[in-house]
Symmetry: C2
């Protein structure tokens, strides 16, 4: 018994009594092969269980794979897995494009908080000839992505625009969403509104900008002691709540800028007697179920991923125009917590 070996095109050709090239012609539907040989080749291929060596094919044809590379910041955060889910939904969407396209795959990797690895990972993916790249930028400079454009690899940045270069990008309306969320609290008469969330280069900055804009428009002076873009997880909201409560003039409402902050804030409401009004950025499973139900600015990672994938598919389908920037709406879902 020899070890099981993958049959090659030559094996198929031998068995069918034709040349490798003819076998290739049959299997690639090139036509111009006599029917009896077609039959013999197809029979031989099924009998041997032939599957072409993708690497050899790609090497010869200088083709790219049917794989989309996705580089996220941290796979530990459900938000990014949501983005990946969106990409998967889009590239598998049967309505989207020509029936019978080959199975597309997602090649994913995360920078795991080490933004210096971002270029390395991107380079490794390019070496693997991904047909397109979807990047959540974590470094402060994405100019290295320019080299990809030269190689003709479509690139789309997700959640944050690329810095230092102009490529397609899909971002949420962080600024506007935060502003509308805070306005909702102001409309309820609140003037002391805290901001709690994770630190993050772009999105948090945008959300703080929206928060400030809403306050300013209402003639409310921003009190920096109420602004805490410093949490790491839900548990870290506790100490911040303590600090807010110990102020002479504690906030009567809170804007939570991400899911971790929202969950943490809900925990504080349960364990402490503090019951501020609340609006959260990003919806979450439990928001319509907890007491009170949570009013949110809807920020859908799946939609981010889906739209990003669509930009990619457009480019693959031939779009060669200038970089486009898509802004995903962040509508308010009014529930109860902003009334509290």
């Amino acid at each position: 018994m020899s070890a099981a070996k993958t049959p090659t095109l030559a094996d198929v050709a031998d068995r069918a009594g034709v040349s490798p090239k003819t076998a290739s012609r049959v299997l690639n539907h090139e036509g111009n092969v006599r029917p009896d040989k077609v039959a013999r080749v197809l029979a031989a291929a099924t009998e041997l269980g032939f599957t072409p060596n993708e690497f050899a094919r790609l090497l010869r044809t200088r083709g790219s794979t049917t794989t989309i590379g996705v580089v996220t910041a941290d796979i530990g955060d459900p938000f990014w897995t949501g983005v990946i889910r969106g990409v998967e939904l889009a590239i598998g969407d049967p309505d989207r494009d020509d029936v019978g396209h080959p199975q597309r795959f997602i090649l994913s990797a995360s920078t795991r908080e080490r933004s210096d690895r971002e270029p390395e990972i991107v380079a490794a993916m390019v070496d693997r000839r991904v047909m397109a790249l979807l990047v959540v930028p974590t470094t402060t400079d994405q100019s290295y992505l320019g080299a990809l454009a030269e190689r003709g690899v479509p690139v789309v940045c997700v959640d944050r625009p690329a810095a230092g270069t102009d490529v397609d990008a899909v971002v949420a309306d962080d600024d506007g969403g935060a502003r509308r969320g805070v306005e909702l609290l102001i409309a309820q008469g609140h003037r002391r509104i805290a901001f709690v969330g994770r630190p993050s280069v772009y999105t948090t900055a945008e959300r703080i900008a929206g928060y400030r804009a809403a306050l300013r428009a209402a003639g409310i002076v921003v009190d920096d002691r109420l602004v805490h873009p410093t949490i790491t997880d839900a548990a870290s909201v506790g100490p911040i709540a303590e600090r807010l409560l110990s102020l002479d003039d504690p906030p009567t409402a809170v804007f939570t800028a991400d899911v971790a902050a929202s969950i943490g804030m809900l925990a504080c409401r349960r364990t402490r007697s503090w019951r501020p009004a609340m609006v959260a950025f990003s919806d979450f499973d439990a928001a319509p179920v907890v007491e009170p139900t949570v009013t949110v600015v809807h920020n859908d990672p799946v939609e981010l991923g889906r739209r990003a994938a669509e930009l990619v598919l457009d480019r693959l389908a031939g779009y060669t125009g200038p970089p486009r920037r898509v802004r995903i709406d962040t509508p308010i879902i009014e529930r109860e917590s902003h009334l509290a």
Copy 2:
């Protein structure tokens, strides 16, 4: 201006004034090259920005990639993205193995509810020479996976064991977890306990088995009108709740077999006056935050993925023993809802 082209090893060799083979030797640290040539080759490589063509290398060396294929049932379910996250955590774990291993990637695809595509997707991944495969079986027969073992590709089944073949598998203790969960309700005096969850070949069957075992052990006759493994999403719990409430002898407690059922049940508690005791299979973000906090059987997808990846890494590191079956504990996290 010609189009930007990827430099080849031959280009590097030309520029350094050596043969391609010598350049190859330098770049692969084979040694036995005169220092001045080493320097010239390295210089030429950086100047040209040379990166080796992975396909050519893999073709020649008959090597496999540094990619792990992950086939999940449905990327629309956060549970499976959790599994992927676990895999990512494990393969990126710096403690786990030899420093400086090349960047590992995850190649993912989902069967999208069409279980007939499972073998196709697996085949496509094998053609792409993934170094290992992690499969969530959805078909009723995984005997086709046997062919992979012959090719020496490590395979691990996740969440459900493979049918018709014997390969490594990582499953949760569905049976025992459900049994312990239901026992908790019985200990509170409940004798009319409903079961609500999604339909699913293996895991739901196991959880129902645990549910039945607990009832039987307590001398309670199982009433099939209380068993509803039929929901599709959280919203579909509503009609089931109606049906349960309309019984002559409605249940006083509910065991929800998955997150969707749990969220749905919480929604019912809010909108209807029905307040049954509750134990849920699978923890979720909001469980410790809602009123009442939800007692759960902890079923961690991340841990499933992580352990599965570890089995894979063991095999890649040389383990050649018989297939192993790992059962992940499903400990009870006692909160309040089982007391209601």
